[in-house]
Point group: D2
């Protein structure tokens, strides 16, 4: 099942070392002017990662594999405008050096999907993980960039950033302590996990479905489908589980739009705090949506990885001296998190439009 | 969208103070002997909550609303056996005292779904939250109980428990410190959040889909659709984000079944640790699946709740002297978390069966 | 898979001789005033069948089984109005006399689903076909009645009628020839097939999706899911396959609304003929949608049916002297065809609303 | 919605005169050896159409546009074998001469999708119909060819042929009368409709879902999504509607496999006739599946077509002297019908596998 979304749907394809990765974005409304350069910039954000530096010195956490990912548009856009038919695109894999991975042909790496794929499918693409590689997220970023442009027309903006790496809080610029600590990790070639924090601004109230498709549930599924994620929190997340009611509850602020109400329909309200992360009963409440994603450290390394050898049936050390890995994937995941949030929100907005556009009492449609 | 699952699908209905809540479980295989008494026991677990006590003294954290929830089976079962057609069931709402909630008719409670429903639909069921009430989870528990029975035939078992309430770790029996602290909260009528930890044992490798329907993503969506959840973690969760690779990676143990392999298919492996919670690349790896769910404190109280008054346009205090609320919903949520996990796993197992049953190299089907 | 529709979704349940049949209609917009008496009238149309008579004398083609089907509303409606949550309903089976069918317990009837169910599920509900009985269509009629009411608010009307029974054209009133011929069939207890013709008036242009979800394809699937259907035709159907282009093509009439156009958006057009049945490229074109459904004769009879005896392994004659069957199901199918058309159109309209509501160049939303 | 299928899913993309058409086939089991040359042969069958001739003289009914359609495989196949990840492919549009269609830029052709697209989307791709062109069916043929190969491993074979063109029955070789009559139509450049008959052999009993996803309903939807279809019939189709029960019912033949039965599970049966087209209660019964598809004449012609002119607001004659059209699309549609049947059957077989693989009483899985 390589499809996400019900009305604004992305289906992706491609293995890390195959011909190309890409996707079909189906359900994007007609008449959207697509800024293709902006899409390329998003791909570059994915390729280079969020820039982290101290005193002008950048941290180099990402893989040296630097593909100049270039989108080829195959359908759905005519004269720069979407025409209602599916938008197909692909990004060729240019910098794949499969030979670097030949030791993996008979080895199941610890911490990777090699074993589970082999169990499930009876075979696997051993060339750097095939479909299990995070290379596939480039397709998500392309589609997410289009979703963002559609949302941007309604002033809905999505912005994520690296919140922590290992146990270090990430600020811009970095503190000296953090910079030095992370440099040590880079020198030790010891990969680290971290967290991404994301905010969605200006989402109108009413996005999400009340039961199984709560906005929180759909965001959770979308970001937990990103490789190497391990946790998801909406608003205060696990911290909220330690609170009592009085600490947690978000009280209403005085209404700013008293004139807008009717006997049936209330004025637009806001809350004085936002512990709930902008979601109540699974629906957006008009406040910023805030969530956090946890990533575990990636399990790859040039030296010291172990794997199960299918010939000898022993666990052995694998050296991949020329392979290229991220030491910390988190700065590169920032734009991927944004993309998944954008796809989710666009899809749920369309669902809300479907059900409320003809309802004279619901103002969802008018508020856009 | 009140449906969850693609092949093992639950659609639910019902408002808290309507005629009944219930659902249709579609896609349950024919020939399953349904233990209806066991289903009733699961409903009782939901009604009473996990029993927490110290020195024989029980904590009373749940609502005094005590419905004797009784399942009426409407279709799909003949002579105690499923027949392949949809299983419809309902539980009547007997103990609904809507009058207790009449102050809510013109008030939007802080921390609740009142405002977001009204914004989305232009109206709402003010009688105790209607569909937004956790009352709807009774339908999930009924369907989850059937899923568990189907999984149980394959020795797949799901077990959850309360891990924390507020900042207190929950043990069985409770420590004296925890018991006393929680008793104080009960006396102060100050509701608390908490966490539930859940384990799925004996799931064969290969359950989950590699991309958007990773087992972790689907579990996240399923449990984050439970009311008042705020966070989800697989395996070590956010703790994993603080680790470096060497601390996190789960190495292979020596293989226990060397004779079972072929040139194409590997022996069954296990790992020496389980930081990843039994999921690699989105697929189960044969180790126990472990995850944690965070719940924020419920925002209801007999006294001291505030709300936005639709007549006066002021925020006012709401007293509901006869209404009944949980002081902590977490012990009652234990069986709901299990139900959502069971529905998710059953659905993804069917998807795996569909794609691997005729694949001679995949052993998924034979391992059940 | 007992669900139809993506946004306006019906899931049904129930066996012919079980407790009840019913369903959950999910996705119906909030704020619809439901006329429950009208729903009952539709059920009566299904129960009694379209009235066919000559000179005041009615034909009696339907089963004498006369259940006073009464809808019990379980959720989703408050004070007569939909509230956005799923509408659950059921109709109890009151007049089921399972004992009449006991000869079927060990027999697989020719022309029925007994054998195919047993092959698929390893068991079956032998009581009058269980889920395979047309009794399940009562749930479709209830949901279809609600869909019609929602469509009716937009002046979209759906009307079907019996077009032929056997090889006889059906008029109102019947011709003497047809009446006498059909009376003979009734006396001979020899069941007959027939056709239903259906028209959807005032559907705006643009309903349907261009590729796999063409309006014609979705209508075909919806009506071919009705028991005992054998063919579907849109517009001129198979007659169109015999035509040449000049006979078939529907030319544009002079435009009636020249003032409505813009440089980008055309005036509303109509065609001088309607061979295509109101659908071009899978989308409605604003003309009446016309389609025809073929039904084969039902294979049941009190006398002379044959079946495969599971004990003797012989084909044997089955006598069911007290069982009750339709001699021709077609007049009763009229309202079922309407219901399936209504559910399909409502669903596709919501899909169109989702994708066009924010498109300033598309006028679909404004035209409703 | 450019996706068909639930478990064996095809999503397609591409406009007639865009860069490429193609698709993603998701859910194809791993381990299938793909015969890519066979796929090319199927594309050639689509390009050239079924060969119809009399006395060695071929009829030339198709468009002279002769693209050497060549599949580029983008993912999902490694060393000639499917690996469980999505199979993406594309076929470049090489022979698109958009300039030939420039008169259409401001004209809405009668009988085409120009008007309905414009109404729905507020814009359209005027270059030969864009997505509405039958060019998109090349992607269906590629995916259908893979589905056929998967089915072929289970000895399930699908074969279609042209049954009629206009009112002429098509035989191989053609009769002199038919040949001469069709030659006259070719000379008059007057396009004709026709019918395709299709048979699916060796499908095991139990394929299809009993209610909304009946095999007949899903086949109807699949083939009615092919451009220019107007009718669908299963088995005897509309002829069945004229029959009485005794003429229609398919009686059981003596069982061929008496030893295979158990108390619970019956022997494999067959019927002496096949009026029902191999489907009972929506499920395959083990007999050949037979169905017929009606196509209306295509509405294009080099001379004499009319259209609504968006500038003048008049209906005017359009001459497209260099454009290329089929005079009868039916021989080229044969392989498209087969492809849609194959995709449908493969999808429903997977659904059956999902629900019966662990049911010891159901033999569906073992029969493959």
């Amino acid at each position: 099942m390589n499809t996400i979304g019900r009305l604004f749907r992305l289906t992706t394809f491609g293995e890390s070392h195959g011909t190309a990765i890409g996707g079909i974005l189906d359900g994007c409304p007609a008449g959207l002017q697509v800024d293709c350069e902006q899409v390329q910039l998003e791909l570059r954000r994915r390729s280079e990662g969020e820039s982290l530096s101290y005193n002008g010195q950048p941290l180099q956490l990402g893989t040296p594999r630097r593909e100049e990912d270039e989108v080829e548009w195959l359908s759905g856009i005519l004269d720069g405008e979407t025409i209602g038919s599916p938008i197909a695109f692909m990004v060729r894999n240019r910098d794949a050096r499969s030979a670097d991975y030949s030791p993996l042909q008979h080895t199941l790496r610890a911490g990777h999907a090699d074993y589970t794929w082999l169990q499930k499918y009876g075979l696997r693409d051993w060339r750097s993980g095939g479909r299990a590689s995070a290379r596939e997220t480039a397709a998500r970023v392309v589609a997410g960039a289009i979703a963002k442009q559609w949302l941007g027309l309604r002033q809905i903006h999505i912005q994520a950033c690296t919140a922590t790496i290992g146990s270090y809080p990430i600020t811009s610029p970095l503190s000296e302590t953090t910079f030095k600590a992370l440099q040590q990790h880079i020198e030790a070639q010891s990969s680290l996990g971290g967290t991404v924090r994301c905010t969605i601004d200006n989402l109108p109230p009413g996005v999400g479905e009340p039961l199984f498709d709560k906005l929180s549930a759909r965001l959770a599924a979308a970001v937990m489908s990103i490789p190497s994620t391990s946790a998801f929190a909406i608003g205060d997340g696990f911290e909220a589980s330690k609170m009592c009611r009085q600490e947690y509850v978000d009280n209403w602020a005085a209404s700013a739009q008293p004139e807008a109400h009717s006997t049936r329909f209330p004025p637009r309200l806001s809350t004085t705090t936002n512990h709930c992360g902008g979601i109540q009963g699974g629906l957006s409440n008009g406040m910023p949506i805030t969530f956090t994603v946890g990533f575990h450290p990636i399990c790859s390394a040039r030296q010291g990885m172990t794997g199960f050898d299918l010939s000898t049936h022993n666990t052995e050390v694998i050296d991949l001296p020329s392979a290229r890995f991220d030491l910390c994937q988190v700065p590169r995941a920032v734009v991927i998190v944004e993309a998944m949030a954008a796809l989710t929100v666009a899809d749920l907005m369309m669902e809300a439009l479907a059900h409320t556009s003809l309802n004279p009492h619901a103002v969802f449609h008018q508020s856009l």
